[in-house]
């Protein structure tokens, strides 16, 4: 029998191999020392059901809106001053003046401020839409109950973020909306008055209120939201994304038995066992 010799590689093929090796070298270096590359690959190339639809992009859309808020917020923080003292040069409160400065004087300041202001509304709308989609799909049921709870906490944190951020421009709408919001807390029985006084930083809304709302808005709640979002994403990756429940090819449907049409996901039917007491395929205790 004639031996087949491997054809000698062409120059182009050699170059290609060299380039691939050069690109893979740092990636392999990183992977060997951290395992992170493997994690990213798992995230990117894991399987999701083949019939997912556009409604299921609302979650990542909300994440994008949050990232927009975080980035624009960091930039705004470089120009904003949380002080209620009257600026002698302009006769206006320093905080209000810094916002006016951002809007009018700073290059593209109006864009960053506008994106942050409207991004807040978009973020909240997307969270509500995402919550509605999850409710519609029944994707809060086993095993995703914890993820639902984490999601509700993110929603509450998002609303609190909006509330604390609303005070920062220190204009009339900001001031009075915050007066009402803090006093609402004050009507809670027993601890309400103490909570309201803590939020205010004293008996009346003043400079302390603005600085602590700034601290809560910039540090406390973003930290909490980032932690919760991380947990939320981890659970989504671990538990998987559901198919639309009305889909004909939904992942996780019960298999056909005895010639019947396949059942839709989630439908409960008493599991029958044949005469030998052996469970049918796909049932609990049955063979896979």
């Amino acid at each position: 029998m004639a031996t087949t010799y491997k054809r000698k590689p062409t120059k182009a093929e050699i170059r290609r191999e060299q380039m691939e090796a050069a690109v893979m070298y740092p990636i392999d270096w990183l992977e060997e020392r951290s395992g992170l590359v493997g994690g990213v690959k798992y995230f990117l190339f894991r399987n999701v059901p083949s019939d997912i639809n556009w409604m299921q992009t609302l979650g990542s859309a909300a994440l994008t809106a949050f990232l927009v808020q975080a980035i624009t917020g960091v930039i705004l923080a470089m120009y904003y001053t949380p002080s209620v003292q009257t600026d002698p040069a302009t006769g206006q409160p320093v905080a209000w003046e810094s916002i006016r400065h951002i809007t009018d004087d700073v290059t593209m300041g109006w864009l960053v401020r506008g994106m942050h202001k409207w991004g807040a509304s978009v973020f909240i709308i997307l969270m509500f839409l995402h919550m509605g989609r999850v409710f519609l799909f029944g994707a809060y049921k086993y095993p995703r109950e914890l993820n639902w709870i984490v999601g509700v906490l993110i929603l509450v944190m998002g609303l609190m973020e909006g509330f604390t951020g609303y005070l920062l421009p220190w204009d009339q709408t900001a001031y009075w909306a915050s007066v009402v919001g803090i006093n609402l807390n004050g009507t809670a029985p027993f601890l309400g008055p103490w909570l309201a006084q803590f939020l205010r930083g004293g008996q009346e809304i003043g400079g302390e209120t603005l600085t602590r709302f700034y601290s809560i808005h910039m540090l406390l709640i973003p930290g909490a939201i980032i932690g919760l979002i991380t947990l939320h994403l981890y659970l989504v990756i671990r538990l998987g994304v559901t198919s639309p429940p009305w889909s004909k090819e939904a992942a996780g449907m019960e298999p056909a038995e005895d010639g019947h049409a396949p059942l839709r996901p989630g439908l409960t039917r008493p599991v029958t066992r044949n005469g030998n007491g052996i469970a049918a395929q796909g049932e609990p205790g049955g063979q896979k």
Binding site: N47, V68, Y175, A188, G240, R273
Partner: protein
């Protein structure tokens, strides 16, 4: 040969849950598609739309407010760029929260009775939040198809509807107080064909809080059973009766909850009476 029928065993809910989830994982492994690029493409497109919307809103805000006259206090399509600085001693500002809190704001207006205030401020919102968090424990059925979850679908639809209605009503609520109503006077003059003699009375009517309880030509609110006054002149009460009523409402309408406006002084009461007796209705 007789076949002995084994009794049907019903597996526990936990077992069914776990089996269902195992089936799902298996299905996704066999029939699923990789997240990148299929799902991630959808996510990327949607994210692009979101960023474009945010930038678009910011741009519209800027150019419709500041653009026309280079004045950031001009309202424009999306509101003014900036508002007056905080004035804790104001007596003419109408506070409103950010739009996504309008439903809570209107809830406070629904709970009008002083004894029920804490329900509107903390009671109802807390209960709703607890129900929301506890949803997976209230609904433990495995069924996910909307067509087979009537309770969930009805509850969801009712929630969305009520939040929407509360938000809209919160957005359109106005308290009809002096600082707002004074701007309606030119429209009243035009719609009711008010003669010049009635204008001072119209301004007094707008700023004296009458519209807190009375409606007039589309302004104001109805409270405490106060009648609409758009065409009060058609009742032909006459100037003298109007003045007497304003001075002491209970003397003309026994048991009326309307407060006395005698403090305005006779001259102003007379102007108000002229205004009221000129109000024959809008055309």
């Amino acid at each position: 040969m007789a076949v002995v029928q084994q009794p049907k065993e019903k597996p526990s809910r936990t077992d069914e849950n776990r089996a269902g989830f195992a089936r799902y994982k298996e299905d996704v492994k066999k029939r699923g598609k990789p997240f990148y690029p299929y799902a991630m493409f959808h996510d990327t497109v949607m994210s692009l739309v979101v960023v474009a919307v945010i930038i678009g809103l910011a741009a519209i805000w800027k150019w419709s407010s500041f653009g026309p006259h280079h004045d950031g206090t001009n309202p424009g399509l999306l509101g003014p760029e900036y508002d007056a600085p905080a004035d804790p001693g104001t007596t003419s500002f109408v506070p409103r929260p950010d739009w996504y809190f309008y439903f809570l704001f209107y809830l406070l207006r629904i709970f009008k009775w002083p004894e029920s205030v804490f329900l509107g401020t903390v009671g109802v919102p807390t209960i709703c939040l607890l129900l929301l968090i506890g949803l997976p424990f209230l609904d433990r059925r495995r069924e996910r198809r909307p067509s087979a979850r009537p309770v969930a679908m009805v509850a969801g639809a009712l929630t969305i509807l009520s939040m929407g209605v509360l938000t809209w009503k919160g957005a359109t609520a106005n308290e009809a107080l002096a600082s707002e109503v004074i701007r309606d006077v030119p429209r009243w003059i035009q719609q009711e064909n008010l003669p010049p003699a009635a204008v001072p009375g119209a301004k007094l009517f707008a700023t004296s809080g009458c519209t807190a309880c009375h409606t007039y030509a589309g302004s104001g609110g109805s409270n405490l059973g106060a009648p609409d006054l758009t065409n009060i002149a058609s009742r032909n009460l006459g100037i003298a009766t109007q003045v007497k009523h304003l001075r002491n409402p209970s003397s003309v309408t026994p048991g009326s909850p309307m407060p006395s406006f005698a403090s305005l002084g006779d001259a102003r009461l007379h102007q108000l009476a002229i205004f009221l007796e000129s109000s024959h209705g809008t055309h």
